[in-house]
């Protein structure tokens, strides 16, 4: 790809990004919809190409390499397509059942170990290891997990000790949420900062970035004030 095209890609990318940021203004406007539809079109195109390439690399090449059994994958896949026609949609049930079955098996056969047993197992630890801080940690975890679990019991009236533990659980859960919210915010901020970092380095991008930001911001306001946004937006 030659210099100019790359440059163009960068600039368009920056502009379309800020067009998308005008979503934050919370009013319909064509810039945003343009960005939305561009993404919809392009992204769908990508996933078509990717899926078919995957089919080719895995199945077709596989069959050529003598993995005859893979022929089924093609057959099932084609049967899948019958969904599109209401009268023949029943044809797709076989592959559907097949994929659901395998998927189920895959998730179940490990689900139990990763999430359920291992997590429980990790909670069962020697509380007192001689290190006070360690003790604090482990004790808190044990208590929290148990109490919070009781908060999520549904088929019985919460009363007596259960009521008490579930209340405690609820409070502990909110402490947890506080922490988790903060971590999540860090993550999201990280994404945003990271992206902004990439549109401000190398420094020649800066003017384009600032320009697009200003243009889109003003445009959003104008579209809103003049009511043009409502008129020109999609749907």
């Amino acid at each position: 790809m030659n210099e100019f095209l790359q440059f163009a890609a960068v600039v368009v990318g920056i502009f379309i990004s800020f067009a998308m940021y005008t979503t934050l203004y919370g009013k319909p406007n064509p810039l945003r919809d343009w960005a939305e539809f561009s993404y919809l079109g392009a992204a769908t195109g990508v996933s078509i190409v990717i899926s078919l390439t995957y089919i080719y690399n895995t199945a077709i090449l596989g069959i050529q390499a003598g993995d005859w059994i893979l022929i089924f994958s093609i057959i099932f896949g084609l049967m899948m397509l019958f969904r599109m026609h209401p009268d023949y949609s029943h044809v797709s049930r076989l592959p559907l059942a097949f994929t659901v079955g395998t998927g189920l098996a895959l998730s179940l056969r490990t689900q139990i170990f990763t999430s359920f047993i291992i997590q429980i197992n990790a909670t069962i630890v020697k509380l007192w290891t001689g290190v006070p801080l360690e003790f604090l940690y482990r004790l808190t975890i044990a208590i929290s997990v148990i109490t919070i679990l009781t908060f999520f019991l549904y088929t019985m009236e919460l009363s007596g000790p259960l009521l008490w533990t579930s209340k405690v659980g609820e409070y502990l859960m909110y402490i947890g949420f506080g922490g988790i919210f903060a971590q999540t915010f860090m993550g999201r901020l990280g994404l945003f900062v990271g992206y902004m970092e990439s549109v401000t380095t190398p420094s020649w991008k800066v003017p384009y970035t600032l320009a697009s930001a200003v243009i889109c911001f003003i445009a959003a306001i104008i579209f809103d004030r003049t009511g043009l946004g409502q008129k020109l937006s999609a749907a």
Binding site: G26, K27, L149, F152, M156, G178, F181, A234
Partner: protein, 245 residues
């Protein structure tokens, strides 16, 4: 071994599926009020059931969608159901369409059902998200009920819904999401609350039974942890070894 045991137990419990008592989740009342509000204001209701395949959350989300559809059909409120967002959603979509259509038929107004209001916003999560947000911005719904397995797009939707002053009722399906959604939305169904609500609404034996079974397992889990901790601290790691097998 342990696994087989689990399965046997589950099936057994499922067998004796006498309708158990299920706690009513507060957010449910909120849903009714919210839909009622948007009916008065003559605004549409947006209700989505997630972008997952037929996982745990989606099934619950669909039950809730069915409930919302029922109210909307009865009160003649426009219901918009954005679908898509994942490679598996085209199956769930079919189910959802049937669900909503049935709801309208049951309410005796099949003509009011309009599949146009269940747009398929591509199988791409990040194409689905702006599509969804676009709907919120353009239609300015009076209520937004976001259930099922929504992932990182959930915050976009919740916060934007709040921005267009629609009552926002969400259900988180993983931890970090929930913490954020709890802040963003007017009412939230925290994790397990969602399936419970789904079961409560659908009154479907299978679902209610499974909530029951899950509670039993939670008790088992709690018990195991308690016993385990006690044992470990008197110096026997029998439980750990048992679980490790």
């Amino acid at each position: 071994m342990l696994l087989i045991l689990l399965f046997a137990l589950t099936i057994k419990f499922m067998g004796q599926a006498k309708l158990p008592y299920i706690r009513r989740v507060p957010a449910l009342d909120a849903i009714e009020d919210a839909v009622g509000r948007s009916t008065e204001m003559g605004k549409p209701v947006v209700c989505s059931f997630g972008i997952g395949g037929f996982d745990y959350w989606t099934v619950a989300g669909l039950s809730i969608l069915g409930y919302v559809a029922k109210i909307c059909a009865e009160t003649d409120t426009r219901l918009i159901v954005p679908t898509g967002g994942g490679s598996e959603t085209y199956i769930t979509r079919e189910a959802a369409v049937d669900l909503v259509r049935n709801a309208y038929t049951a309410a005796g107004r099949p003509e009011a059902f309009n599949e146009e209001d269940m747009p398929f916003l591509s199988g791409e999560q990040y194409a689905y998200t702006p599509g969804y947000v676009g709907i919120l911005v353009r239609e300015r719904p009076g209520a937004t009920v976001m259930t099922g397995s929504h992932y990182s797009e959930a915050m976009n939707i919740a916060e934007m819904a709040n921005g267009v002053d629609s009552i926002t009722i969400t259900a988180g399906c993983y931890t970090s999401n929930m913490a954020a959604l709890a802040c963003a939305s007017d009412y939230i169904m925290l994790g397990e609350e969602q399936p419970a609500a789904g079961a409560y609404l659908s009154r479907e034996p299978a679902q209610m039974a499974s909530i029951r079974v899950q509670d039993i397992y939670k008790f088992i889990a709690i018990g195991t942890i308690l016993v385990g901790i006690v044992l470990v601290n008197v110096g026997s790691d029998i439980i750990n070894r048992l679980l490790a097998t």
